[in-house]
């Protein structure tokens, strides 16, 4: 728990990030910032998908399935955004300390989740088409 709170404090207090190691080339810091922004856009796109699902999809044959899809997309978008800040802080820290960038499974997990979701929806569309 203390680790989590410390990480959150670090997100909001760039002074704390700046206290370790040496300042890297500013272009690397700005590249890290752009990577963060790309992840935020990914999160915002998932949130937009959730909002669009809730508003523009007609009710599905399975009760509340539309709401479940919408809430799942919304929560996934929020999780991507939170993880983006953590990733930014960890990358910045690694660059300042001259270490390797932290390894992550998150992009692979997100890709698998989106892939499985797409396959399920393709199956649902085909089942409806042949009924």
């Amino acid at each position: 728990m203390a680790g989590v709170l410390g990480a959150i404090r670090q997100w909001f207090d760039p002074e704390e990030v700046r206290r370790v190691g040496n300042t890297p080339d500013y272009r690397f810091s700005l590249a890290n910032e752009r990577t963060f922004l790309a992840w935020i856009r990914t999160g915002l796109a998932l949130v937009a998908g959730g909002l669009a699902t809730a508003q523009f999809l007609p009710p599905l044959p399975i009760a509340h399935l539309r709401e479940v899809i919408a809430v799942a997309l919304l929560l996934l978008g929020g999780a991507v955004a939170v993880r983006a800040v953590d990733r930014w802080a960890r990358t910045e820290r690694a660059m300042r300390l001259g270490r390797d960038l932290p390894a992550t499974r998150f992009p692979a997990l997100l890709a698998v989740a989106v892939g499985i979701g797409s396959v399920l929806l393709v199956v649902a569309v085909l089942v409806q088409a042949f009924q």
Binding site: I40, A52, A81
Partner: protein, 92 residues
């Protein structure tokens, strides 16, 4: 100061792209809130985008390599839109 890779310009453009996507999210959230008859949520969704614009512009104006609190604030607002959407979906 020379900036051969135009890193600052590219970063500002990335902020703009993010703001434009956020505008789409804000409009979708506001549309949904107005259909559900929740004017307070409509105002929150639109005010949220205005706040994001102020945060992004402040980040650009600061001209510093470190972004300050702009990044966690953007993440926080993204989570905020997700929560707002979830509340609207669950309350209908």
């Amino acid at each position: 100061m020379t900036d051969p890779g135009l890193a600052r310009e590219r970063t500002w453009l990335a902020w703009w792209r993010t703001l434009l996507v956020a505008a789409g999210v804000a409009i979708l959230a506001a549309r949904m809130a107005s259909l559900e008859g929740a004017p307070l949520f409509v105002a929150t969704a639109l005010a949220g985008w205005t706040a994001l614009f102020v945060v992004a512009f402040g980040r650009y104006r600061s001209r510093r390599a470190e972004p300050g609190p702009a990044l966690p604030l953007f993440a926080l607002f993204t989570v905020g839109y997700a929560v707002l959407g979830t509340l609207l979906v669950l309350n209908r």
